[in-house]
Structures are given as structure tokens and as C-alpha cells.
Amino acid sequence: MKRKQTHKMFLVAFTFAAALIAARPATAQDAKQPYPTMAPVEQYLMDRDAEIALARSAAPDAISRDASVIVLTRHGYETAVPGTNGWVCWVGRGWMAMFDHPEFLEPKSSRCRLPQSTGRPLRSSVRLQTHRINPGRPFQTRSDRCNESGNR
């Protein structure tokens, strides 16, 4: 990756983080929420191949090409591509932002589809509400977990 590309990535990341932080106090005071309720689920979904490519774009090819890729479906994230290096790439949606962020339920903005790569140490996360990572095993869906351990 060229130096300027790296800098650009940093700039985007830092700009977004700063925007998130800056927006929080104003949001609490602002009665107008541009996205007060969830949009139809279709608006949060993407073409599967496009989502895989977008997810992989989060990291250099040396990392993302061997990563698992999970994509959003009507019922949660599913493993679209099982990987081999322990990394997981995915495209986050608006609800991964702060709960009071004005775009929490925003379905379209590209910045609310944040490609992310998650390293090996992650085993579970509030962000992966319907999936769980087990080292050495593919993602499990909520129904898989219920089958394993009863009706949780």
C-alpha cells in the first residue's frame, strides 16, 4: 500500500471517529432524528458479491484474501466465505455505531457500511449479536447454538 493511501485510510477513520464523538452531545439535544425507525430490511442488505468485496477492502489483500467473510442477511450475519488465517472481514451497518448516533438506523450511507477486519483474538462481540466465533470453527448462527445447548 502506498504511503498516501495509508494516510488516506487514517484520515477517513479519524474523520469518522471525530464525527461520531462530536455528534453525540448534539444528538442528545436534537429532537430531530433523520432515521428514527428502522427502514425496510432490504435497504440494509447488499448484493452478496459486492458485500464480500467491500468487506475484503477493509484490509490489504495479504490479510483479507484468506479471511473469513461474513455478510448480512435477513436473519443476521452469515459466513459467506470460510477463511484460513483467522481473520474475519465484514461490512458493519448503522447499528454498530453509538446507539444515539443520528444515523443509527440509516440504511444507505456508505459510511454506515464500514468494512472491518477482525483479528484472531476476538471470540465474541456485542457487534456480532447473532453469531459467535469459536477458534478453529466456522461461525455459528444463533439457531446452531440453541441446538447445541438447548433452548437458550
Binding site: M1, F14, P60, I63, R120
Partner: protein, 232 residues
Amino acid sequence: MTRNQIHAILLSAFAPVAALIASRPAAAQVAKQPYATMAPLDQYLMDRNAEIALARSAAPDSISSDADVLVLGRHGFETTVKGKNGFVCIVERSWTSAADTDFWNPKIRTPICYNPAAAHSLLPRNIKRTDLILAGRTKTQTDEAVVAAVDKKELPAMEPGAMCYMMSKQGYGRDSVEHWPPHLMFYFSQIDLATWGANLPGSPVLAVSDDQEHLTMFAVGVQRWSDGTENR
């Protein structure tokens, strides 16, 4: 890999790591050592106020203005300014932050601000190393003493979250690379470099492990210097 080889790589970092690693054997064969022995101590010392300012330049003012500041005295680092945020800013010298060829280079000045976790875990190693050097130990003796202290757990393992800021525009890295770009470093008690995707093509994360000290260091470049200006 020794600690100083690690620093040589990280200092020159942000150039292709593979090229640096490949160049190490050649460097080891260089017969001429411009700094073969320790220079007179005075050459390593600085004006106290200048050292405080240089140490603080490692991190943005919002961090360094409330940090402890250590300065090098004739017998080791001394706390000159007592802070209140747990960070510690310091100007390290050649024996903790330069390549082997510059191990005794008296011009080396490396401003660093350690966060509280690193101040508790990494900094003690560098303070011990400095104490030993100023007490007249050789490089080999110092290396062995630090490694032994780590093994005996007299020096602590890295605390979770240990990191430092190295964003100063000033300082002096070594004769061949006088300065380095602004970056952050993260410390672990030896973990797999692949967990961070470090040193892979296109990855902005550089890393090295010191097997003897059970230490892994990651470095990530940042866009701006500590004064907010852009690194061009």
C-alpha cells in the same frame, strides 16, 4: 533478534521491512564502527529544560502537558516533572533505542511518551538498561542483565494496553536515518505477529519480536506530528 536490531528495524521502519531484514547481515559485517565505545558522559546529557521540552514533543500537548517527565542525569533517569495523567515522557538515548552500529552514538535522542501501562511495564526495562550503562557495564553485560531480570520476573511482563507515542518532529534517530515518521507503538509479551497482520504486503503495521526479552512491538504510522502539522 536482539533488542537493538529491533530498534534499528523500527527506526528505519516504514521502508520495506523485508529489505531491512535482508540488510541486517550485511550491517553486522561492517568492520568500521564509528561509535565503538562509550563517549564521555557529558555528550549524552542535555540542558534540562531542553530535554523536558523534547520529551514532551513526543505526544500531543493534551497528553504530554500532564505527563511525568524524566531527564537523564549522571546516574540515570530522574523524575523532573511530576504529572497527573499517568503518562511518562522521556528522551531515550542510544543504548535503548538505536541500532547496534549507533549503540554508543551520543547524538541519539528519542522522545517517547509512554502510557500508564507501558510506564509500568516497558519503561522499567529501559531505566534498568540505562542504570547499567551509566554504571559502566558493556552492551553484552547489559543485555544479559536485562534478560535475566525479565526471566526472574524482576522486570514485569507487558501490561495490557501498553503503548507509546513517538510523534516528535525533533530528536535524532541515527546517522543514516536522522528522523523517523510519527508513529505509535504497542507492546505485548510476545504474541504472534500475524494477529495484527504485521509486516504483510500492504499492511501499515510493522512488528518485531525479541525472543530473549519476550517482547513484541508493533508500530503504526500516523499522519500528523505531535504539534498537529501533517507529515509530508
